[in-house]
Symmetry: C2
Subunit: 203 residues, 2 copies
């Protein structure tokens, strides 16, 4: 069985669980508590020198890091990727957008709001304005797209939607008010209505 090294509350890990669940791919979950720092210890660094989860590990020892690459690999040739090259290019466009322009503000804000002791957030209070500005800019880009499209990777539900859903659906935990984005609210409902949806707290 494939092992997913993960933190259960991480949106990047949730994306992998959701895609695997929707394809019926069983995963053995190896949990790393969020604040324990175990992914920066030598045992884990031997598996991923970048010290991050999610990390996929196959029975033969091969490992794959980066949620975007894991999503792509697990779903190649399945219903979770469009058939045509142009839609696949758009799918990847949005997956790179998510990691560069969305996650570093929306996921990072949520992290500091939710997990470490409150004084750690206080020490970063000067960063909140930047998280808000850049996170809302990313949400506005999504809203513009969704005004004219149902999905992100071409005309069907794909891993681009899963990648963006991961941290958008819990953006309120980082202080973002999604009620300003009515197309996003409708798209979140469409993603939730996909067959075999699991919530982030599913295990």
């Amino acid at each position: 069985m494939i092992t997913l090294h993960q933190m259960h509350a991480s949106g990047n890990c949730y994306k992998v669980r959701l895609a695997a669940h929707q394809l019926g791919i069983p995963l053995r979950l190896q949990e790393y508590p969020v604040l324990d720092g175990l992914t920066r210890k030598p045992e884990f660094l031997g598996k991923n020198p970048n010290g991050r989860v999610p990390l996929l590990e196959f029975e033969d020892g091969r490992t794959l890091a980066e949620s975007g690459a894991i999503l792509f690999h697990l779903t190649e040739g399945t219903k979770l990727q469009p058939d045509d090259a142009w839609s696949r290019a758009q799918m990847l466009q949005w997956m790179f957008f998510e990691q560069y322009s969305h996650e570093p503000y929306i996921a990072v804000a949520r992290y500091w709001f939710v997990f470490p002791p409150r004084e750690e957030l206080e020490r970063r209070r000067h960063l909140i304005a930047e998280w808000q500005a850049k996170g809302n800019a990313a949400l506005a880009v999504m809203e513009t797209h969704l005004a004219r499209h149902d999905w992100f990777g071409g005309s069907t539900y794909s891993i681009a939607d899963i990648a963006l859903y991961g941290y958008t659906h819990c953006a309120d935990e980082g202080g973002f008010d999604l009620s300003h984005y009515r197309h996003i609210v409708h798209w979140l409902a469409r993603v939730r209505s996909e067959a075999d949806h699991i919530t982030m707290s599913h295990s």
Copy 2:
């Protein structure tokens, strides 16, 4: 002909020019001066609501953003991507790594060191330690990989190497000392020795 909306000094744009050159794909270059802010004006935002270059525009009006997605799309089915799914997954792993863990420190440091007036860098002097720490951490991850592999996307030169070359080969401009990374120095030379290499200043 395909148009590349670009900034010539941008490593993300250089990656696209390099891959297109190596495949003999002609590109019409539409230049946006680095400090003019034209990519945040309505005319450009109509093409890419995220306000960033590189942006590829086809003659029929279709557009594609994100250097990683552009590289993937332009090179699908060519010698610049490995044939097998596992190598392609590793290729994408390193491309996502570059955009998340490498570019935000190494490219961003170079930007502030090289382009805006000096007082803008002075105003960000408190960020230099973070750029250095996280940029060097990314270089160390690359060095660990290159101690045992010649290339990043499986056993052959691919767009993963192009993606990482883009800002690694000019990392010194952001204050990084590559002489600490002998495997990286050798890999940079291997990339440069690939047929039909162009330098960043080539146009």
